[in-house]
Symmetry: D2
Subunit: 339 residues, 4 copies
């Protein structure tokens, strides 16, 4: 931590900061500049949290953090990349993976048709919401346990492991009986009781980035899981909120490249929520993989027009199969035609 003093800070104020740094268990290192003084707090056994209050000590202009705030998710302590095994499918290894299926499980027939379709097209895992976080209380809220039963049946028939969202601590035990991977939705990224509870489960966790979370905040949310005991964490970028109103969110692919640079955890992309617009999903799927994503999460519905949620961003089974074929196509060479 660097403490940046005001140009007009007095000797007494400078000394106070030095004293306080020592009180918190650090050494103080002073640089007297032409215009102002800065003071470094040096050491790794001090009480860092207590230093933050110095921001309002007299004569202090600003505090400048020097170390990264996360530890276990970072690459300094762990150089090899994490590979998460979800029911036999490896996420973060040499091959990218695709999680596909409907936004919500709406009926047995709907789910089975989607499951068969995405399996035939080459998806590796099946998604489907049983408990749905919905902006309005008047929207369809999910079938709950009935949906979980359908998901189990779909896994039995197709062999695809199941990814589904868990919305609160009270559902973790139940959903874990059915799901191979537990999803934390974007609006729950900083639901800390839920993260603490999931840290104690043996199920892998898919942690979506919050719509207003910085990459650092996202990694710190993952740090709750790792520091609590669950190392099987996969990150998923799903778009952030910006002023652009033509698309539902702004899919931040550079955040994927950055998260992979800062962390050893695998990172997926969700171009369905990330754009909200069916027509651009194929382009963004290809782009996400090119940006370094370890895989994709894509919404597929047998009949998007009749979906009870997120129809506008769902592919039908045929479009999804075309996308999967398209992904295998060699990318642009300099003479190649693109998209």
């Amino acid at each position: 931590m660097i403490v940046n003093m005001n140009p007009e800070a007095t000797e007494e104020q400078i000394q106070h900061v030095i004293d306080r740094i020592k009180e918190c268990g650090f050494q103080a290192h002073v640089i007297r500049g032409a215009e102002r003084t800065v003071i470094g707090a040096v050491g790794n056994s001090g009480r860092r949290g207590e230093l933050e209050g110095l921001q309002v000590a007299p004569g202090v202009a600003a505090l400048v953090p020097i170390s990264q705030p996360f530890k276990l998710v970072g690459r300094e302590l762990r150089s090899e990349r994490t590979v998460v095994d979800v029911g036999g499918v490896k996420i973060g290894g040499p091959n990218w993976v695709v999680i596909a299926g409907p936004c919500s499980v709406e009926s047995r027939a709907q789910l089975m048709e989607a499951a068969r379709g995405v399996q035939a097209a080459g998806a590796h895992l099946l998604r489907g919401g049983a408990y749905k976080p919905r902006t309005s209380p008047y929207d369809f809220q999910g079938l709950g346990i009935e949906a979980l039963e359908f998901l189990r049946e779909a896994r039995e028939e197709t062999g695809l492991p199941i990814v589904t969202e868990v919305m609160g601590t009270e559902d973790v035990t139940l959903v874990s009986e059915y799901a191979d991977m537990l999803q934390v939705g974007a609006r729950n990224m900083q639901n800390f009781p839920l993260l603490r509870r999931l840290a104690k489960t043996d199920r892998p966790v898919l942690l979506k980035r919050g719509p207003s979370a910085t990459v650092k905040e996202w990694l710190l949310a993952a740090e709750y899981l790792l520091s609590g005991g669950n190392a099987n964490v996969v990150l998923c970028e799903r778009g952030i909120k910006t002023f652009e109103s033509e698309l539902r969110n702004t899919l931040d692919l550079a955040a994927i490249a950055l998260a992979k640079e800062l962390s050893h955890l695998p990172v997926l992309a969700d171009p369905s929520h990330g754009t909200g617009r069916r027509s651009v999903i194929p382009a963004m799927s290809r782009a996400a993989i090119a940006a370094g994503a370890d895989g994709l999460m894509i919404e597929v519905h047998p009949c998007p027009e009749r979906a009870l949620s997120d129809g506008a961003q769902s592919l039908d089974v045929t479009a999804f199969a075309r996308l999967m074929q398209d992904m295998e196509r060699p990318m642009a060479t300099r003479a190649g035609v693109l998209v």
Copy 2:
């Protein structure tokens, strides 16, 4: 709902939309324009949610919602303003109120000193965090039940009703034994299981706006509470995330004016979180009241420099007392000096 067709939409596609509107229980009303056709779905007994899928029907350019998505929080069904009684203090009435106290309860002594100070300065309610949502798992997470005991004691001594945050459904019963008002933190604004649980309690709820929530999403979160049975809801604007990095958040005072135009619920402002900078809190407190806020939530710590959380945005007791006096001062007249 208005369905806006593409200019090149065929008769068959138009007819399909008409049929689907009728299937969902609405009447279809067609306007054939010079360039394109638009189709209105008319009626109030149809299944609105199912209409949304039309966004991906062939030939459809876009859907345009016409009605507001919220009902009980809106002013169409209730013209008088809601006044929420919190332990005898009325929020939303003719007088504005101030909730003050430390970000976190750190010790008995710290809380009591803060409580006595804010009471003497004229605060109406006491805040203090027992369970703290923190970005990093390595930061101070709150004293939990011990803090709740201290809060009870502070109420007994000062008479100030208590406002404290509840982070998950599992804590609602316990925290309700101690608190007069339950706060939903900004990052939990769309924690729907928590909202559903709080809808069933008899305690008033303070619902903070999420850092990336639109005013409509905020009102829809409140709609979860009202439609679930709890009408004692107070909204609180606490800043949104924007590109401006000099301040912690962007305090959106126009959102207060807008929320009061669209809803009958009281609205507070939290200039402490909303700016993160002690020096601008007095100006923004006055501005929030001028914008129509029903009151303020302000962080006060006996010694901000030693606070375990949010010291940079906390006032000390003296500065808070000065702010309270300042608020009583007549505002700018045309010849008056400001700030």
Copy 3:
């Protein structure tokens, strides 16, 4: 400038940074911490711009600027507040001022009616666009020199000094013949040739904040004017672009408080563009003054419904007169009714 080295930086890399700091004319001051080394560049006669490249020197994690980037607009070199005289009206003094008038000058009759109306209601300066920046080339682009003639006539009749926008360097001479104050529109805030040209004029400049400009970028744009020779600069906050779509922009009143803390220049607020919604303009006008604004800029049109631009955010003359009276009313006392 502080250079933060990677934890694994080598001695050679550290030495390279030290050498480079010296080459640029600064002294290097090294702090060796438990985890990493940081190096301060100290001095005020070095070539600061050249230091920035160190960000990509081997072993460097990040550069941390320590000094504020602006000089003449800041308060370190000038402690008293600037007061700008515009045709006899003082902006930044003890009294706040109101600039009012139509978005665009549409006709002689429309302007004269607006001018008489705002004068009668107590406005201090008259605004009116002769050259209009419009998002679409098919929208009304302003009457140009004809509008300038009408503005001159309005000044002659009402005595109100004129504020009008200048869109490019080629118009500065002409517009200066008519206007008492030259406005730089939000989208031109970083039109540097225009700023350099206006630095050479003797007219006061009203510099609107860009919709994606930080407060620091805004102050640096003003620094172009001051460092080029024009000290008569008034800042104007007019809303920034955020995800909130219900209002046209997010009026950032804390930016006004912050700008006044960092700079000695006067700061106005434009609640018309800042919200785009007529119903919230009175509340935001009062809030802006309470936040410390030195005045307001408000769009007033004799018949907003027939305005050729920005009708939705324009007040009619009656509503403006009511707002002006309302501004004189004493603000909230603790027992007072607000709004």
Copy 4:
């Protein structure tokens, strides 16, 4: 245009809207719903701009635009894609192109070394700034005409056509003598006098997206060029401003896919400005092409550490050559390793 009336609108108010629609040259088509009335303005020969004022007519809740606001840049009037020829290099055709070179031209030696390097690596066009828009007046502002002379010399030696920025109308004639393509910088995207002037030149224009411009605003800026007579326009996405602070901007690749869906113009990506971070430029270059970009604009400096501007985001010649080779590599197959 659809006019959405308030639920409590009176018959008189409805009739007023109908009358006004007719006055503006449209037909009015009324839909009376269960809760409210909506009125369509139908026709393509009316004065659309005048309709906008209806937003503030009594009883009106909101106006809903139905048609896209742009014409010539859209695909409705022109189905084939535009290919822009810049000194013999075709942008928008089957092959993607790369514009590379230094942010600023700093010296003859620096430019020539960069030019030879990027040519050898396979770049198609050479960039280099002669006039630089800089946030601070104290930063390097470019060499001006001297830089233009060096650029001409570099073209003569390497054969690469030149792309350089023009900052104001007064420079258009001069810069056009040297450059093959004129760049409009992001902060000038809505500098309308400049756009109008460039519409009259015979040089192709590279139009960067503004940091807070929606895709529609970007296309409307291009519409200024096309409607003014210059059809040789190439768009360039270079990142938007968001709350994410770890990267300089948020590169919005979905905007590229969307712009290509809405418009026939070619679209490039600038991952250098779009991220500001050298380490993620290769990943984002590949991702941009995968998203459908027609090419890239990349900053290359012989010695980024000593660059006078944007060193942190510049590749050196070796890294650029590696990127170019990397781009030719087949993309991920399902069994392929990525990044």
